[in-house]
Symmetry: D4
Amino acid sequence: MSESTVAIVMGSDSDWPIMEEAANVLDGFGISYSVQVISAHRMPLETIDFAQNAHTDGVRVIIAGAGGAAALPGVIAALTPLPVIGVPIALKVLDGMDSLLSIVQMPSGIPVATVGVGAAKNAGLLAARMLGISSPEISAKIIANMAQIHDEAKAKGENLKARRRQKTGF
Amino acid sequence: MSESTVAIVMGSDSDWPIMEEAANVLDGFGISYSVQVISAHRMPLETIDFAQNAHTDGVRVIIAGAGGAAALPGVIAALTPLPVIGVPIALKVLDGMDSLLSIVQMPSGIPVATVGVGAAKNAGLLAARMLGISSPEISAKIIANMAQIHDEAKAKGENLKARRRQKTGF
Amino acid sequence: MSESTVAIVMGSDSDWPIMEEAANVLDGFGISYSVQVISAHRMPLETIDFAQNAHTDGVRVIIAGAGGAAALPGVIAALTPLPVIGVPIALKVLDGMDSLLSIVQMPSGIPVATVGVGAAKNAGLLAARMLGISSPEISAKIIANMAQIHDEAKAKGENLKARRRQKTGF
Amino acid sequence: MSESTVAIVMGSDSDWPIMEEAANVLDGFGISYSVQVISAHRMPLETIDFAQNAHTDGVRVIIAGAGGAAALPGVIAALTPLPVIGVPIALKVLDGMDSLLSIVQMPSGIPVATVGVGAAKNAGLLAARMLGISSPEISAKIIANMAQIHDEAKAKGENLKARRRQKTGF
Amino acid sequence: MSESTVAIVMGSDSDWPIMEEAANVLDGFGISYSVQVISAHRMPLETIDFAQNAHTDGVRVIIAGAGGAAALPGVIAALTPLPVIGVPIALKVLDGMDSLLSIVQMPSGIPVATVGVGAAKNAGLLAARMLGISSPEISAKIIANMAQIHDEAKAKGENLKARRRQKTGF
Amino acid sequence: MSESTVAIVMGSDSDWPIMEEAANVLDGFGISYSVQVISAHRMPLETIDFAQNAHTDGVRVIIAGAGGAAALPGVIAALTPLPVIGVPIALKVLDGMDSLLSIVQMPSGIPVATVGVGAAKNAGLLAARMLGISSPEISAKIIANMAQIHDEAKAKGENLKARRRQKTGF
Amino acid sequence: MSESTVAIVMGSDSDWPIMEEAANVLDGFGISYSVQVISAHRMPLETIDFAQNAHTDGVRVIIAGAGGAAALPGVIAALTPLPVIGVPIALKVLDGMDSLLSIVQMPSGIPVATVGVGAAKNAGLLAARMLGISSPEISAKIIANMAQIHDEAKAKGENLKARRRQKTGF
Amino acid sequence: MSESTVAIVMGSDSDWPIMEEAANVLDGFGISYSVQVISAHRMPLETIDFAQNAHTDGVRVIIAGAGGAAALPGVIAALTPLPVIGVPIALKVLDGMDSLLSIVQMPSGIPVATVGVGAAKNAGLLAARMLGISSPEISAKIIANMAQIHDEAKAKGENLKARRRQKTGF
């Protein structure tokens, strides 16, 4: 894992379809990352081991996804000086409200950078922004990415207008 | 700690005025206990150390109080085979809903016995019930305590009736 | 029912597909149990009869599942000195929030050990932990079960890594 | 209690300051009532006894106030053919949402007529409306009471206008 | 409508599949009823007309179902001395929480007897209980219905036991 | 009332301290208004009368404040072609969530322009914006008011900076 | 865009199926409108540009739909003196509660006229009511539309009655 | 502002008592920062100006606090490639739930690193962690700070133990 700038961890392999979006973002930015299933509840010692060593293993940002009583991001944040991004993942009930509150309402002293429910893509982008603080190259890519997001949204809007024009004549 | 049957732990010393009610209950039942501040976020290694050793140190039940992103009960439950009772403690906002969901919505495999928001007294009583499974003496005390709760409630009710009678003549 | 260490009760036979997971856990631990449909609202007298006699019938832990205005676990807890585990079952609306609050927010004096919404498997595991207090055999099985949960989670994680390696070459 | 048309019951004597408003309404309507503290959790057998006998004791409507995991109205409704009015009483946290859901979300077959959080006055009025079904006298009093509520609200409105006119000259 | 003891009204014809359950209950009790679509928002004058005249038209209880900003039960209650039962109907979003609060949180003076989200069957049963206050015949039917509910629940429970016995040999 | 451009109505005179802010805004804009207590539940016929006649009485916008099961704005909207602005007023419990949902979740066909909980000032400003559609004078005042809001916020910010500079030397 | 009386804007083209209902309403009223995708987050400068110029471009009312952290309506309202109608659009989770609160809870000084979750049709009708303030023609159409809504609801009610009569003979 | 590594902005000067905690943290870490009141709703153009230029002005991390319909963090994030930390500030009602959802539920593409309700101290610490990615000095201070947090929590725990020992003799 020593070559990974970002570590993507999640409480269960079933979280991967959501967390994969963070990986895709990092791929797009050319940022190296590792992917790992660790769980504060099912694999507590691996979690501690990971959290204690990530910093010296070369990791710079940690993205942690978890659902329900989602302790993973907070427990990792308690054992690393690195910024930890928490991704609340919705269970079958409660729409992720439990996951969100379990991640965001951290006690004073140990912050977790929380993104929206299921927002793994934004977690990847947030990691890039953090890395962009000291990397003009990544920062430039963020600016480019924002332009692309802008252009795609605009194009979709134009497309909607065009379709309506075709239909209504205006 | 080896002489304590129950371990009462909490995320912050400011939780003590609430958690003390659990201690009072155990005092009433003559059940030995220890009191300790450990925090999954501020003292993670002590938490792990505590959780891993409680079982062999003679502890039989753990009561853990925590607020907000309340990871403590769950993280302990992940490292001990003992039953863990979680007490959600309300922060200044959200009325303990964050604490409750963070404690009760545990992943499959790692249970936490959750009581109501701020219900440390019930946590003490639940610990007694668990210990009563194998202790006829404690079981008898629970039955006596339930009778006492019943009698006190009844007496208060009678008292209310008496006050009303005095006031209304009926 | 006298030979059952755990009594699994539920408000409706439609709860069985969820509550069955508690039974499966107990089967795995070799803990005897009974299964019964009783309802605080539709079968109140049977509920009272059950709750009053469980203790002397040899039951050691009660698991009670209910949904909506879920009075069953609390009413049973009011009539037995045994520990009662409440399983909130979600109705079609409100995602089990009504069931959770109806079970967990017990008045001072009568505790219910509440698990997550639909978390019958955890209820079974919690019962085992309670019984493990006085049974080294069960306690050992819990430790083994936790190891198994750990290993399965780890294996799934490794498997995810392997699939990704196959796909990405890393 | 045999002379009481309405039975006002509550889970704790501390509920009285709220529940008293129901009594005041009934006083105003000249409807006889009894007041009793019974608790589904602290006094379950008295609750059952009360619920089973209210009907034959001459009670016609039951008003039950309770807070938190508020099982009282529902458990009574399960044992009486009488209409039961539930008054959700707010605890220190959660603003009565737990009490409301515990009372209103009854299973199919056993209804509780739920009023707003802390709305004991409306519970008294609802009892009067139920009794008014077969009592032209009470029905006439309800109509008069509605007129009075109307007039008071109107007078307060006029008063507000007057105060503003004095202040603004319009 | 003069021959109807109960008036079932609803805000939209799309509420009928839910509200029909109230009608079915009344059919079972042999209680006459009318069915009407009136809306506080789309048919306000008909609503007022209905509410003002129901009492003298022979109606004894009103059941009103509505969803979202569900003003119907409250507006009717404001114009009739009869007891009004409100049935909160869930919209596509918010699980009926908006409907429930719009119906149950009535101002002091004007009560609505609220049942659970979508609980039209319980609304029918509550109407029967109200009518049973002055009708021994209906009261007897309620008792019989409660016995039937009890027996069906018990039978389903026995059936579940039988199926399990067949499968497990116990 | 015929000279009033805006009608400010509220369910209770106790709402006035909040609703007064709407009046103050209109005073500032030189927009005439009337103030009236009417209640969908306590004064239904006055409400209907008001709603049906406001349009022809010269009213152009209606501001309606109400709390709890807040039917007033919606019922008025059902009887007038005028735009109705709803102000949810918080009761002692539930923080205005009941009031908000009761006002905003209107059925299709009858809109209410809802502002934030207790946001009577914004209701006044919204009324001004609506009237500004056809009044260049009011529109100019809105622009001026927005500039003033901007300047005040900026000044407060500068003031904060100044206080900090004094304290820290920077 | 200068010929459009109403501007319908939305945060994403995927909001169109919902927002289209506002357009349909305006078509029905013969009110001209433009449709545009702009996003406070993905197209902030276009949003500002739009908001600053709408007023002088002849727009009279703005309808803005957005979901999640729905900043669009508020940001536009901050830059225009025109009335802005906000339509909260539900994301996959949280049922639009996030969207609703993000739109309705505006700070003092900048109002947004919020309609229900997904209630684009009501947004269109609210725009018409606002325009009707100064247009007797539109006002007349609103009255006609309300009559039509009334008649359709009534007809559906009659139809329900007829279907039931056919089935039951009453 | 060019010498500030972190920019602390907030929607209102009344947010300062909360946001000051972020400043205190940065003081403790020796990280330079600016403090500014800007509001997406009351000072939109300054907000845009700030957001567009922060990056080139030398700012590396932005901390933005806002309450209610809290658009500020998101709007800034839309115009800067820098990481933006959002601090939800509770209004008088709703306990900050509106603020939290308005900040955390950002659309895909534009992330905001959200901390708990009122958790400005954690926002400061999160900023430090982000800056620590490329600053071994700051990183070392974070580690030291975590040790200090740990030691203080531990000391408070020891102190609690000592006080109890004094009182109970154990």
